[in-house]
């Protein structure tokens, strides 16, 4: 883009500068004169979003207040208004609390590991030789580009109890017996695999973004601090980190939003029918709706999920506006 722009400037400006200096009527601004144009231009986007997003969201709130099950879907029975019935039902259900707790714990652990890990990898990328950095970037790009579904299937295969390569390698450690070890019997181990998969998938974006951020840290600031006697740790804490802070805030917020909705990884690892121990809020809502045909109840769970994330979302949007990119 930047390279192209000057050439086109030359193309579009008239040959011979006199024409420019000649008194011209006030230049018309593109599309700017009538008030209606911007609205006409945004109309198609608004229609699509309203029809396929606004209306469904409204509909979700609506059916979350109804008993809406298979019979209502097929129209054999009218839907029945239950008020907050679905909500009191889930709030009284110990499973809901367990799933909420699991989702929150998973999100916190995964976000902390992936952001700290990403930062460490970004710092490492500054220390290594050029060719190693290039190797690291290529490996990470490969991971980043892999579709989530495919990545999850490969992990499932790697930790297969019988022929998985992970069990084979762990079994090689003297004194450890991992022959035919199942990773899903103990939910803690199962969630560890899920966390590992999500962290592995998240590191490339985080590390590469934060490495780009690190290269923006002015070198003379670091040198000045070093001359003044700061050790590398002090330089990191008092110079690098403050400059990187806005970026870290953004990527952490994004990670929370992504990880809180975790679905694909669990869905694939647990063969499209996860046990209750492996429910995240997304899976819980989806299974209630499409597994058990309780669309009203599923909508209520989905709505609670969105409400739980609302704070983080609002923070992200405020941050985008603050940075000024949204303007």
């Amino acid at each position: 883009m930047d390279v192209m722009a000057p050439a086109t400037v030359a193309d579009t400006t008239p040959p011979g500068g006199e024409q420019r200096s000649a008194p011209t009527p006030r230049p018309r601004k593109l599309f700017r004169r009538d008030r209606l144009t911007p609205y006409l231009l945004s109309l198609p986007s608004l229609v699509v979003l309203a029809a396929l997003l606004g209306y469904p969201l409204f509909q979700m709130v609506h059916i979350s207040l109804e008993k809406f099950e298979r019979a209502q879907l097929f129209g054999t029975r009218p839907s029945q208004w239950v008020g907050l019935g679905n909500y009191t039902r889930i709030l009284k259900d110990p499973l809901f609390w367990q799933v909420t707790r699991n989702t929150i714990v998973f999100t916190v652990v995964t976000v902390v590991i992936s952001v700290v890990g990403g930062l460490l990898v970004a710092l490492l990328m500054k220390q290594v030789s050029r060719w190693v950095r290039l190797t690291m970037i290529v490996a990470m790009m490969l991971v980043w580009a892999m579709p989530q579904l495919v990545a999850a299937q490969v992990f499932k295969w790697m930790i297969d109890a019988d022929f998985g390569v992970v069990n084979y390698m762990i079994d090689k450690i003297p004194g450890v017996d991992f022959f035919k070890h199942s990773w899903y019997l103990d939910p803690l181990q199962g969630w560890t695999v899920i966390t590992a998969l999500v962290v592995w998938g998240a590191i490339p974006f985080l590390a590469i973004t934060m490495h780009a951020g690190l290269t923006q840290v002015p070198r003379d600031l670091v040198e000045a601090a070093t001359v003044d006697g700061a050790n590398p740790w002090q330089v990191f804490v008092s110079v690098t980190l403050p400059i990187l802070r806005p970026l870290i805030v953004i990527v952490t917020t994004l990670s929370v939003i992504w990880d809180f909705q975790v679905f694909t990884q669990i869905w694939v690892l647990r063969d499209s029918k996860p046990e209750r121990e492996y429910y995240s809020l997304s899976i819980y809502s989806f299974t209630e709706a499409f597994g058990s045909g309780r669309y009203g109840l599923g909508s209520a769970i989905a709505l609670v999920t969105v409400l739980l994330m609302l704070g983080v979302m609002a923070f992200y949007i405020r941050q985008m506006f603050k940075i000024g990119d949204a303007d």
Partner: protein, 296 residues
């Protein structure tokens, strides 16, 4: 000559001190390089293992002591993946769905982006807010009402229904990124073209469109990746003959979980277009998500 002499002797004097410093620095680099290579190997291993398995004959896949390089590499897994039920149908569906939804989102999104980037109007900030918010609504929250909506119009188990949903899914990102690209075209260019007697339409087609072409390509590739990778909605709404390749891959896993060879071969085929496209535009993706977060 004198100058050279002094510089050499100066260098000679400096040697011992500098050597000590560089030796410890070099040791540091060696350690960092080792860690970096190990990290790269661990990250890339799953991709390697997928390819490795895809080329192994059936009897070599199911070994308690797996081979790290296929002993008798074969293409049999790829053949059996391609011959598996619905592969060709779902490949065709994938292409139709992806290309139509990208085209739809691009046309609709470009107009919206033009409005946001080139005009100040009442409600502009609200529109930006909607576009940013919408990107964060969990898909799983929308899937129930979307299903009911499409069901009402008898669009479930059809390609048009899914295409509509995917247009909606990729639209916000499309508007947001294109807005950035249009914003980068200097406004003076529009004005210069108008002064030179271009009509608005000509200004649009001869100035803005060519200058945002790279942006259009990048944005549509990103949309392609999004639509190609989606499987939850299509797998829930449609039957196998109206699914895409991702959903096909998922049903292959659940139907025949132990056939890892063909499954990994299918996974390689399915990811290939995405990986290639991704590598082309990777810079834009990261930039779109965190744009401007570091400004020095």
């Amino acid at each position: 000559m004198v100058a050279v002499d002094t510089s050499i002797s100066a260098a000679a004097r400096a040697v011992p001190r500098r050597a000590a410093g560089s030796r410890s620095r070099r040791a540091g680099t060696v350690i960092a390089n080792t860690v970096g290579i190990v990290f790269a190997a661990v990250m890339a291993f799953p991709a390697y293992w997928m390819i490795n398995t895809a080329f192994k004959p059936a009897n070599e896949v199911l070994l308690f002591e797996p081979n790290f390089v296929p002993e008798h590499p074969t293409l049999a897994n790829f053949v059996s993946a391609v011959k598996a039920p619905y592969f060709l149908t779902d490949l065709r569906n994938s292409l139709i769905i992806t290309l139509s939804s990208v085209a739809g989102a691009l046309v609709v999104g470009f107009l919206g982006a033009l409005a946001i980037a080139r005009f100040r109007f009442y409600g502009r900030r609200a529109l930006i807010m909607v576009i940013l918010t919408v990107q964060m609504i969990p898909l799983v929250a929308l899937i129930i009402p979307l299903f009911l909506l499409l069901n009402k119009f008898e669009l479930t188990d059809s390609l048009p229904g899914v295409i509509l949903v995917y247009v909606m899914l990729i639209l916000p990102y499309t508007v947001w990124t294109l807005r950035g690209f249009i914003h980068n075209v200097p406004r003076e260019l529009d004005e210069a073209a108008l002064v030179d007697g271009c009509s608005r339409w000509q200004t649009f087609t001869r100035v803005i469109l060519p200058l945002t072409a790279p942006g259009l390509v990048a944005t549509s590739i990103y949309g392609f990746i999004q639509a190609w990778n989606e499987f939850i909605i299509i797998n829930t709404f449609n039957s196998p003959e109206h699914e895409n390749l991702m959903a096909w891959l998922l049903s292959n896993q659940t139907n025949r979980a132990t056939f890892w060879g063909p499954l990994m071969a299918g996974a390689v085929i399915t990811s290939l277009p995405v990986v290639i496209f991704f590598l082309i535009i990777q810079k834009n993706i990261a930039a779109g998500l965190t744009a401007g977060a570091v400004k020095g």
